[in-house]
Symmetry: C2
Subunit: 414 residues, 2 copies
């Protein structure tokens, strides 16, 4: 029998072991993170489950089955500094309970192979680049960029990896771990307020948003705040202000996308001068690639209109972008069925944040995620929390999803 | 005969003497500023004109008349660092040519006393507080504040003044210089684009704007740019953006006022988070005190509405304010007549920037200023410039204003 309560007590134990009064401290490639992993390995002692670390530092628990075709359950023990007690590790600990349950159910030999993976450095908190381990597996790791990464203390990613026996140059060889993968499932806290607002405990995730991230710089003319008539101004802040409003209309027209202007920097930035230069950052996300492209185009057109109205120039600079990663339709259906069987109601929603699941899906492996409600809609903070009854429901529903996916792999030809 | 060409050549000589390739360098209480003053004293050699420095460091040139009642012509030799070649010193040098002309005209003894004053530290470039000398005379110098002022090198205003023989504690005794003042007139470059846009060389100044200067801080909630639906955001930048637009409507409704948001600072200010805190600065100016108060009230009401719409809080903090200083109606008429007599057309306009004239007017001395067109509408910059034919017109018209004011003082009982 599945023991969902056990997952709660494991989570609490991990919190004691690797957190302090400021929250979770399991930053990847640190001693605390290694301690979390060592303790996790003890959870499968006495079971015919092997554990190993691959070339990218991902920790794999394997229950061999009759077929090498594999169901993978993923998560990550690493946290941001002062992080929450659930983000990432709920997935790993629920996965470990489920693999133990499968082991009992199938008497140590399930019809297909089942693995739990603890991805290395999902957060990217120390080196500024997330999804290290999963991107090494998916083939998306940008080695040239990774070689240049250093932490705040000046330590390179290369050096930090060496301490844990990982050679950055051969990390991509971890890709062999996905060779027999037939499906990938991941449970995660929502990290947003959608399920909370709908008073739902669980949701089926449609995929991860694509992201377009740009800096927009408007340039006008500094001018004396007292002697310059309003109609003579070339006010870079006015154009930016219009953009800050317009993104709400763009997001609304996109049906499901979000847009954020998170930073606004003014020059000369003094009380007695019209703003000459204003640089804002724009982050746009959508699950649909065409809709994302439309959002970006609408923002460009609007920026040019506002620049013209304010008599300023505008320049765009791409910071980063990634394509949307839709999940597998059949697995989304299974996820919804498992949720409804557990708590009667389900909502399908996209994921705004990225997850390791997006890397796995990009390697053409059928993938789905399940979200459990976040209180306050907040994560990456010690106040991150989820009601215990919702956590229990999530483990039960996720076990149902795992079971159904296993059956699907069995009956579904390669 | 008035020699307006002489003023141009004096201005060019001063530029050679006290400027470099970056512009004018006559920052108050520096060696270059003292050199400019010493040279100015040579311009009245051979005339029965005395010069003296008062307790606040203001330099006075006096041509005694039959009556102690005095017409004062004011200006300032000090400049900002890398300043323009006209700001402030045009007034002094035109004033010296006019006092020399009066001397010739009245054979050394005019019916009333005529003085030219070079105010000390109009710009406040070094210690961050403008109108030092004129506010000492008007009685508005805030001694408690002045005692705390230090420059970027850590030198106190008190120490800098001592080098030039000025005791900050007794600077206010300079007020006695205004005892017999019957009128004050000042010529200045416009430092804005109004006359340029109207293709006029000269304008009569109605007074100096009152100023309300505030910081407005909106506080919302930082939230993940990917996982937070638009309708769940508490976006401090959205409220600020609405203010940045609204000030244009407020200024338009005010009929003649100006509003500027010159600085916008966002926290956490990162591309992946909704803005939690946004601090903007608001500078509002109007010639009419009631209109200025309405502009401020409208901004307050708007900020509360926008805060409410964006689900954030708002807090105001006064940075600085000063009342409008309207000039003398009769002298404004004289100024206009002198301009029309010189170049046929005149425009009446307020002054956005403050001037020493505002301090004198606040001491209940009939005051007016005349503006001459600024090319590009720009000052406080080495590209500050005015066409030579406009400078010549300005000296001629200003001489007419001085003559008419002198006659008015003669005929106008005390």
């Amino acid at each position: 029998m599945l023991d969902a309560e056990r997952t709660i007590s494991d989570l609490k134990h991990l919190r004691e072991l690797t957190g302090n009064e400021d929250g979770a401290q399991r930053v990847a490639f640190t001693e605390t993170w290694a301690r979390a992993r060592a303790w996790c390995r003890t959870l499968v002692e006495g079971f015919p489950i092997t554990s190993e670390t691959d070339e990218a530092g991902n920790l794999w628990f394997t229950l061999k089955g009759d077929s090498p075709r594999t169901l993978i359950i993923g998560g990550h023990l690493d946290s941001v500094p002062n992080g929450g007690w659930l983000d990432g590790c709920l997935n790993v600990l629920a996965g470990i309970e489920i693999i133990r349950q499968m082991c009992r159910k199938y008497d140590g030999r399930p019809p297909i192979t089942i693995r739990v993976v603890d991805w290395a450095d999902e957060e990217g908190a120390r080196f500024g680049k997330s999804l290290f381990g999963s991107s090494a597996c998916s083939g998306n790791l940008n080695l040239a960029e990774a070689r240049t990464l250093v932490d705040a203390a000046g330590i390179s990613l290369t050096s930090a990896l060496q301490i844990y026996g990982i050679d950055l140059e051969t990390a991509h060889q971890a890709g062999s771990q996905l060779r027999d993968a037939a499906a990938y499932i991941e449970l995660h806290i929502e990290q947003g307020p959608v399920l909370l607002d709908m008073d739902l405990s669980l949701g089926a995730v449609l995929g991860t948003f694509g992201v377009e991230r740009h800096a927009i710089t408007f340039r006008g003319q500094a001018a004396h705040s007292g002697s310059t008539p309003m109609n003579r101004r070339k006010d870079a802040l006015l154009a930016s202000a219009n953009m800050c409003r317009e993104i709400y209309a763009i997001a609304e027209r996109s049906h499901g996308g979000v847009c954020t202007i998170g930073s606004c920097v003014t020059h000369p930035g003094i009380v007695t001068s019209v703003v000459e230069t204003c640089r804002i950052t724009l982050d746009q996300r959508h699950l649909d690639a065409d809709a994302l492209a439309r959002m970006l185009e609408e923002a460009r057109v609007a920026s040019e209109q506002f620049a013209s109205e304010a008599k300023v120039s505008v320049a765009w600079e791409r910071i980063w972008s990634i394509a949307p990663q839709p999940f597998h339709p059949q697995l989304i259906d299974f996820c919804e069925e498992a949720i409804i069987a557990t708590c009667g109601r389900c909502h399908r929603l996209p994921s705004g944040p990225l997850h390791d699941a997006a890397e796995v899906a990009s390697a053409s492996i059928p993938t789905v995620m399940m979200f459990v409600q976040s209180l306050h809609g907040i994560s990456h903070n010690k106040i991150e929390d989820t009601r215990e009854e919702h956590l229990i429901e999530s483990v039960i529903a996720f076990d149902r999803l795992a079971q159904r996916t296993l059956e699907w792999i069995q009956t579904n030809p390669e």
